[in-house]
Symmetry: C2
DNA sequence: GTCGATTCAATAGTGATATCAATGTGTACA
DNA sequence: TGTACACATTGATATCACTATTGAATCGAC
């Protein structure tokens, strides 16, 4: 999986400190860093410091100008779709806000992705999707939550990847992290809800049978539950409702 | 607008050549570049070549390993949401494929964004949205297509920005480019369709009145037209149907 | 003799340092 | 109030030593 970002190079290690620090607000927008400061703080050469800044710059987290320094940009400028940035936010205080944004995004994208998959998925992958939904049924009933979650993740990843839209597919990793992240946030019920299981099954069969509107509706049902749980969290305590 | 990426620094100039070259397939996946080669080809120092590679690396366009070189990664690895990458594709042969992906993405995201805006937009911005839709009516009837397009872009940008979801908002620039790009692709009718104009108006009033479902439906109508035009392009010649 | 493990050297990226150029800010001065 | 200058800071280059990986050459065993 090569999950965590590569720590093998120095500039990545610097990045792994400065990036989260910016995201966490340790350096607020408008704050000015200098290359010399970075060299000192992390004990690295100018070469390495500059490379780290270049990457931050390409994410629009900072802008670098002569005589001024490296300025932290306003949140609205950030490349919020950058996977690395998303991970930094998920790892910090922004976690719950980031999960919320991502869940809304997911709820928007997955239904159309399911529809597209019904039209464009490879035959073998349609079968695979059906298998996954059956395994989810089984694992769900037996209460094997961890294995269930992994199959759930694979299910949603497969739908996105088979949508035939590279941008939908590009969200697969992020959606996987959202699904994995919900467990730690106590958004998972002890047993997956029957309703959700049935909806997954409907998505799978609709994709197999090439019925885009059915697939879209079923997926919309899955996502609606998830978003509802999110809204519910806003107004009261989590009681662990749905799953997706 | 600061449209074109910054050409002021050397590494950005290298990036502006290498990036599009990779995207265009001049260096196919698996192709190995070397820092020395980049230095030679672009007449820059090692530092500059390295910085360019770092940025490409953060976009997952390439991976860099000692003793191996800088390897172009497979398309499926790319950070397809990176604004710079999107622009490179829009500027090259991938243009029409990229417009298609983005249009599908947009069709997925804008309706929920409109619903969210109906719940969360600032009062002043709700008024602004209404103003924009009225101006669009006027400009559309008078056939002032260029001004119309700019208001259209602002309309959709405003909805996304007022959705209260940073990730929806993060698509504003990209959607703006799609809307601007359609003109060059002959996807715009000589006169905006009445239907589309009315739908924009419905979105604006629904957002003002705090009616998420109405806003979502109306926006879905707008997007459906756009996607239909896209599908139509697939099977026949463009006759310039809708707009959004 | 073939197959496998080990060794080793060539090679390309990685990191550090020194140095100069370019430039915009802020201040001091007219 | 306007202008010019000093200087801090990034931008860029050149060059050094280090490190890790590959792939071939070598060695050994079956």
């Amino acid at each position: 999986m090569a999950r965590s970002r590569d720590q093998s190079t120095l500039h990545n290690r610097v990045l792994a400190h400065v990036g989260p620090a910016i995201v966490a607000g340790a350096y607020p927008p408008g704050h000015v860093l200098t290359l010399e400061g970075l060299e000192r703080d992390y004990g690295v050469s100018r070469t390495v410091a500059r490379e780290a800044v270049r990457v931050l710059q390409s994410m629009r987290l900072v802008s670098s100008r002569p005589r001024v320094g490296v300025t932290v940009l306003d949140t609205t400028q950030w490349s919020v779709f950058d996977p690395q940035l998303i991970r930094w936010r998920l790892a910090g205080d922004e976690r719950s806000a980031q999960l919320r944004s991502l869940t809304e995004l997911r709820a928007a994208v997955e239904p159309p992705a399911a529809a597209a998959a019904a039209l464009r998925a490879e035959p073998a992958q349609r079968e695979r999707l059906l298998e996954l939904s059956e395994m989810m049924q089984d694992l769900g009933q037996r209460g094997e939550l961890d294995a269930f979650m992994h199959h759930d993740i694979e299910f949603h990843r497969l739908v996105l990847e088979q949508s035939g839209n590279e941008m939908f597919a590009g969200l697969a990793d992020v959606v996987a992290e959202v699904l994995a992240g919900r467990a730690e946030h106590h958004l998972m019920p002890a047993h997956p809800r029957r309703e959700a299981l049935r909806l997954h099954s409907h998505v799978a069969t609709a994709v197999r049978d090439g019925l885009p509107q059915v697939a879209e509706s079923a997926m919309r049902g899955i996502c609606a539950e998830v978003v509802a749980a999110l809204d519910h969290l806003d107004h009261s305590v989590s009681d662990g409702t749905p799953h997706g």
